[in-house]
Every structure is written in structure tokens, then in C-alpha cells.
């Protein structure tokens, strides 16, 4: 336990000492928040500000998970920092737990800031299920940080890691509804969207924010996050490498498929039971100013 606490304490200190961490965890997503807010006229409707809020959270979770956990882990291996830990009695467990907890502790204030800005700046009512929202976002964060750790495990060097992260990050950003609502997609893109892990993150947040759903009502989204977190954690531990010289066997990379399995299953299921989402005109939505009072549930 002493090692866990000490690692979390140091990880937190190190993160807060790096300007890049502050920039990419707080300032960078906030730039997007205000940009989205302006484009979608967030101040004019609850659904518009909720869409903006969801986009900003998803952007933050993806960045924190894939870049924060994934790239940082590769960096530590490349710089021979993990090699120094390897000669001590510590196992990968405390290192991964510390990374997870630190990522979560750094991310949570950002959510509070986003909620406050949305409320005070764009007049978004407070969500009815704030606890559910925070728990779901935390689950999403753990799931995407687990994916980040898996990327770190299978990438043999920084170059490979960056390519892998980009390959996941951009499709997730554009095809999950995080930036463009899925209702604006054509039928094929909507099917593809069902295979994207971030889609379930976005759906979950929207479900809580727009439809006042609790965690239990978000069954598939919650299950996808939990399953991804568990599988990602398992694979991350199994393939953990301390040294850059330890190259991963090509066959071991198949473990990555295990992490993506829940999304393959859910994508197929969604594809088979799909109903075309009605097309949404965000611009006209934004013009209709909401009359929902502060503190009430958000209008869907």
C-alpha cells in the first residue's frame, strides 16, 4: 500500500509540474469548449450547450486516455525509466494503478470546470444525475486509459505508438458523435459508428445529460466501458514491458483484439437492430432557446 500511495503522490506531482499536462488537460479542451460553444451557439439552447459539453468531455477523455496514459507510458519505457523500476520488487500493478488514479484525479477538476462554465456561461441547467455523470465519465476515463495502456504495450517505440494513437483518436473523434452528432451521419457511417468505442461514451453522457438517465438505464454504454476497462487492464498487465529492448511477439498483438471485442459485438448488434436516427439540424436547434429552469432535468 505504501508503494501505491507514494507512486500516486509522485505521479500527481510530476504531472502538475509539466506544462504540457496542464495545457492538454485543461487549456486545450477549454479552447475547444469555447470554439464549439460559439459555433453551436451554446448559450441559446440547453441541447446545444449539452452537445458542446458532451463534445468537450469526450475530447478530454480521449486525450487523457490515449495520449495521457498511452504515450506517457511509451515515453517512460523509451527513456529507461521503467527499467529502473524493474530492478526493484515492484510489479506492474502499482505502476498502472498509480497512472490510472493520477489520470482520474487530474481529469475530474476539468469536468467540474466544464459543468460550471456550461452552467454559468451558457446557462446550462445542472444535470439531474450529477453523481451518475461523474461515475460514468470516470468509467469512460478508466476504459480509455486502459486502451492507452494496451497501445503502450503493443507499440515497440514512440513512432509506432503515435501512429496507433492517431489511428484510434481521429476516427473516435469524428465518428463517435463527439464532434459531429451521429444523427447527422448517413446510414453507413451510423453503422460504422456502432463499432467505435467512443460512441458509447458519447451516448452515455448524452443519456445522462439530455434524457436524465441514471447509470442503470445506460446498460450497454456502462457495460462497454466496464468491459473495456477490465479487458484493457488485463491485456495491459499481461503485455507490460519494462524495457525498450523487449520487443513484443507479433502473436501477442492479437490480445488487442480482445479489448476491441465488446465493440465488435456491440457494433454488430447495433447494426442488426438499427433504427435510422432522425437527422438533426444543429443550427436550428441552437436557435430555439430553451426555457428549462436551472436545476431541472435537461430537455432531450
Amino acid at each position: 500500500m505504501k508503494a501505491y500511495l507514494e507512486l500516486i503522490k509522485i505521479d500527481l506531482k510530476l504531472a502538475l509540474r509539466l506544462r504540457t499536462v496542464i495545457f492538454f488537460n485543461y487549456l486545450f479542451p477549454l479552447i475547444f469548449f469555447f470554439t464549439f460553444g460559439t459555433v453551436f451557439r451554446a448559450g441559446q439552447s440547453a441541447s446545444a450547450v449539452t452537445q458542446v459539453m458532451t463534445m468537450s468531455v469526450a475530447l478530454g477523455v480521449l486525450g487523457n486516455g490515449l495520449f495521457g496514459a498511452g504515450i506517457r507510458s511509451i515515453q517512460e519505457r523509451e527513456l529507461n525509466i521503467l527499467r529502473r523500476y524493474k530492478v526493484t520488487p515492484i510489479t506492474p500493478g502499482p505502476l498502472l494503478v498509480a497512472s490510472m488514479v493520477t489520470g482520474w484525479m487530474i481529469f475530474l477538476p476539468y469536468i467540474v470546470v466544464l459543468l460550471s462554465l456550461s452552467h454559468f456561461f451558457y446557462h446550462m441547467p445542472w444535470p439531474q444525475h450529477t453523481a451518475s455523470l461523474l461515475v460514468f465519465i470516470s468509467l469512460g476515463l478508466v476504459a480509455f486509459r486502459s486502451i492507452g495502456l494496451v497501445i503502450a504495450s503493443v507499440a515497440n517505440n514512440m513512432q509506432e505508438g503515435t501512429i496507433l494513437v492517431q489511428l484510434l483518436y481521429f476516427p473516435m473523434l469524428f465518428l463517435s458523435g463527439a464532434t459531429i452528432p451521429t444523427s447527422a451521419f448517413g446510414p453507413i457511417l451510423q453503422i460504422i459508428s456502432g463499432f467505435i468505442p467512443a460512441t458509447y461514451l458519447v451516448k452515455g453522457i448524452k443519456g445522462i445529460m439530455l434524457q436524465s438517465q441514471g447509470l442503470l438505464a445506460l446498460g450497454s454504454a456502462v457495460a462497454a466501458m466496464i468491459l473495456t476497462a477490465v479487458l484493457g487492464w488485463f491485456v495491459g498487465m499481461k503485455l507490460f514491458r519494462w524495457e525498450k529492448e523487449e520487443k513484443i511477439r507479433a502473436s501477442a498483438k492479437l490480445w488487442v483484439l480482445a479489448v476491441l471485442l465488446p465493440f465488435l459485438v456491440m457494433g454488430v448488434w447495433q447494426g442488426l437492430h438499427r433504427k435510422q436516427e432522425p437527422a438533426v439540424d444543429l443550427k436550428s436547434q441552437a436557435i430555439q432557446k430553451t426555457s428549462a429552469p436551472s436545476g431541472s432535468a435537461l430537455a432531450p
Binding site: 505504501k2 509522485i10 527513456l79 527499467r83 530492478v87
Partner: protein, 308 residues
């Protein structure tokens, strides 16, 4: 006092695919001993040491370290040993004291960071970020981290490589202190003078095998190379030089004042030379006796230089 060896290695082998890096080596290290592993890159010394540290699995043979099997009891073993790696790093923004506190938390027993900072002359740097430390300070911190669990056995992998002579001497001083504390040290090095100065026993490795093992003096004595006696007189020597007992070769310098004699029994030859100089009425200005070094022994045994 226990006579059980701290390290016992029997027919140890390590293969990487088709490459056999360690080809069946045997040795033991006793308590309080500084044991050196000498050899060029690719000799198999790093593989050997990493197997003993529990970092790599052996392909065949047996090894026990502090009574533990490094393959099966990795965590228990790592808890009891200290390791100073050659190529390692810490996060740029970690402070010196934080690093010590962090690593201390990994072990079941630890020394107070203040004590280590004082001992390794890092007290003034306790709040400095790792990235701001000089090469010597980083190496001192690496040694402090290796000592954080008060280990009975230390593995030092090329601890002075790339450091300037002053820092190297400081590190030598620290290793001597560890020896005085009856800690057992396994030292891998490229530097002959380091091995000669610090090690009680040395194993010379080449192509995965131990080609010679013993105290530095024993190894030097086994050498077929001769000692070199160098003499400088106050005035030029005239005429031919006599054939002194056990002298293999005699050479006179251009100024005829300097003489170099190779001998199999330098003490006897030197005594005869002194007698002859006295008979000739010559005054001695300077005399040097150079025994074969471990480098000479190494070249003789392997046909290679240590830094090949």
C-alpha cells in the same frame, strides 16, 4: 560466520534464439567479496548479471543468489539486493529526495533518505530536479537508490562509464566503503584499473565463457607476459649490456641513459642490474617496475582488447 556463498552459479547458460550468449559458466561469490566481471561488449557479462538480478530467465544451469532462485523468487530476491544499472533514467521533474522516498517505499526495509543524501554528498541537491543534476550527481543518486534498501548484495553495472576521472575516484571511494561494510559487490566494468583496484577476485569473460578467474595478482602472475624494468641513469651507458639472469630482452634508449629490460623474475633481475650499475660507478636517476596488467592477461587469453 557462514561459509555459504552469497552467489553460486553452476553451468549457467543463456540463449537468445540461436545465439548462445552464456555458454555454461561456474563461479561462486563469498560474503564481503568484491567480485569483478571483466569482458568486452558481447562477452555475456550483462546477461549473466541480469540473470542473477532476476531480470532475465536462464536457459539452463543453476544459480542461487542469497539463497534465492533468481528465476522463481524474483520479488524476494529484488527486495534484498541493490542494483545500479548503467543505462537508466528517472523522470526529469522528480526531486532527488522524492526519488529516494519513492524507491524506499518499494522495499520491506529501507534506510532514511537523509542518511543516504548525506553519505552520497547529495544533501545540498535534495530539492533539485533530476534533469538539473550533473553526470556525477546522477550516478551518485543511482548508487543511493541502490543502497536505499540497505542491501547485503550490490550489483554495479559499469558504475563509472562516461564519468570524468575525479567523479570516478569518488565512486571508487564509495565502493571501497561498501566493501568495508562487508557488503558483497558484483562489479562489471571495462576499466582494468577499476578491477585491479577494487576487486578481490575477477572473472574474465569472453564469448560467453569464463576464460580466467582469480585475484588480480593471481591472474597477473599466471600471465606469460614479462615484467618490464625501466631504468634511467645519470650518464650514458657505454658498451654492450650484460645478459642478466632471467632477463629476456634488454634495450637501450637513443640517449643511452634509459634502459628497458623485460624479465620473467623482475626482483632477481633488478637486484643484478643494481649490482652491475654500482660496479660501473653509475648513479641511478629513476627506476620503474611494471608488472603485466589484467589488460595484458586479457589480451593474452582472448586475443582481443577489452574495449573491442
Amino acid at each position: 560466520m557462514s561459509t555459504q556463498p552469497i552467489i553460486a552459479v553452476h553451468d549457467l547458460r543463456k540463449s537468445y534464439d540461436k545465439l548462445e550468449a552464456v555458454k555454461g559458466i561456474d563461479f561462486q561469490v563469498q560474503e564481503g567479496e568484491v567480485f569483478g566481471l571483466l569482458g568486452p561488449n558481447g562477452a555475456g557479462k550483462t546477461s549473466t548479471v541480469e540473470i542473477l538480478e532476476g531480470l532475465r530467465s536462464r536457459s539452463a544451469g543453476g544459480a542461487t543468489v542469497l539463497g534465492f532462485d533468481p528465476d522463481r523468487q524474483k520479488q524476494q530476491l529484488k527486495d534484498r539486493i541493490g542494483v545500479c544499472l548503467q543505462a537508466t533514467n528517472l523522470p526529469a521533474k522528480i526531486r532527488v529526495q522524492e526519488a529516494l522516498e519513492l524507491f524506499a517505499s518499494f522495499y520491506t526495509r529501507s534506510v532514511s533518505p537523509e542518511q543516504l543524501l548525506k553519505r552520497l554528498q547529495l544533501l545540498e541537491k535534495r530539492n533539485a530536479f533530476y534533469e538539473t543534476l550533473s553526470g556525477g550527481q546522477k550516478q551518485r543518486l543511482a548508487l543511493a537508490l541502490a543502497l536505499v534498501n540497505d542491501p547485503q548484495l550490490l550489483f554495479l553495472d559499469e558504475p563509472t562509464t562516461g564519468l570524468d576521472p575525479q567523479i570516478r575516484l569518488e565512486i571508487h571511494g564509495l565502493i571501497t566503503e561498501m566493501k568495508a561494510e562487508r557488503r558483497t559487490v558484483v562489479l562489471t566494468t571495462h576499466y582494468i584499473e577499476e578491477a585491479e583496484r577494487l576487486c578481490d577476485r575477477v572473472a574474465i569473460m569472453d564469448e560467453g565463457k569464463i576464460v580466467a578467474m582469480g585475484t588480480p595478482r593471481e591472474l597477473q602472475q599466471k600471465s606469460k607476459s614479462q615484467s618490464r624494468i625501466q631504468i634511467i641513469c645519470n650518464q650514458p651507458l657505454n658498451g654492450d649490456l650484460p645478459q642478466w639472469p632471467d632477463a629476456v630482452e634488454c634495450m637501450l634508449g637513443d640517449d643511452k641513459r634509459e634502459m628497458t629490460v623485460h624479465s620473467n623474475r623482475p626482483a632477481r633481475t633488478l637486484f643484478e642490474i643494481m649490482k652491475w650499475l654500482d660496479q660501473q660507478g653509475l648513479q641511478l636517476e629513476d627506476v620503474h617496475l611494471k608488472r603485466p596488467t589484467l589488460e595484458d592477461v586479457f589480451v593474452e587469453l582472448t586475443g582481443k582488447k577489452l574495449r573491442d
